[in-house]
Amino acid sequence: MKPFELLEGQPAGGDRYIGLTLKGYLDAHTVTEFESHMDRSIEQGGRRYLLDVSELSYISSAGIGALMGLTQRLRREQGELVLLRPNEKVFKILEKLGFTKIFRLAWTREEGERMLGV
């Protein structure tokens, strides 16, 4: 298994939103790759993201901080970031810290699309 993988556009949301899949762990080591990918994508006009995190095995404050920065940045531009299906371990960490009230979480793709307003 690769420690970290970011796959774009599978399955794609057409031009309504960008579908991404995040696999492995998002820590201080891998977060820079994630952030620069997202920076490029937003610069190219991306505003609505459905981020499949079901295969994300671990997240630390570095990763949470990146998601936080993204969320605030996108909301400022009338965009949105939705996290799809965090696993139990990641969910519990986010929940205990209070981030489940800040991030938008969806459990199905349809629910996620509704949250993105598409």
Partner: protein, 161 residues
Amino acid sequence: MECTERQIAALDLVCSPRTEVLNLIRNVVTTVSREAGFGPDDTSQIEISVDEACTNVIRHAYTGYPKGADDPGQVALRVQICPMADRMAITVIDQGRRTSCEAFRGIASLEEYIAQPQAHHGLGSYIISRFMDKVEYHSSPETGTVLVMVKYRRSTEETAP
């Protein structure tokens, strides 16, 4: 190692202060925590706390530490893991740039974190204080910076909100 209590094993990891080592440290800590009888929730909280402490050492204590240099004997991030009868103690030690106790404290609440305008800071220390039962931080030129974190084993896995 600073494990004076009765115990059957103690681990000492000496690492280069590079983010590459975080996954190894997490895996080792997780292994020991499970073996010591901690459940998945507690293990996951220990894992992220140790990661945060080590990330701080790499990012703050050793800022500017050259990426290519690889001699943990000289510039080291040290993690000591002591599983004990009723708890696990993890000590993270560095010989890098020291900071004040206050700076280390990070944010006091999540609200404070969200209110930050741009780059978000202080979450690492907040996580450690939320998830570990006891946190001690001291720093001196002789000992370096020493962060001791203790988590007690609960009989059942319950976690306060």
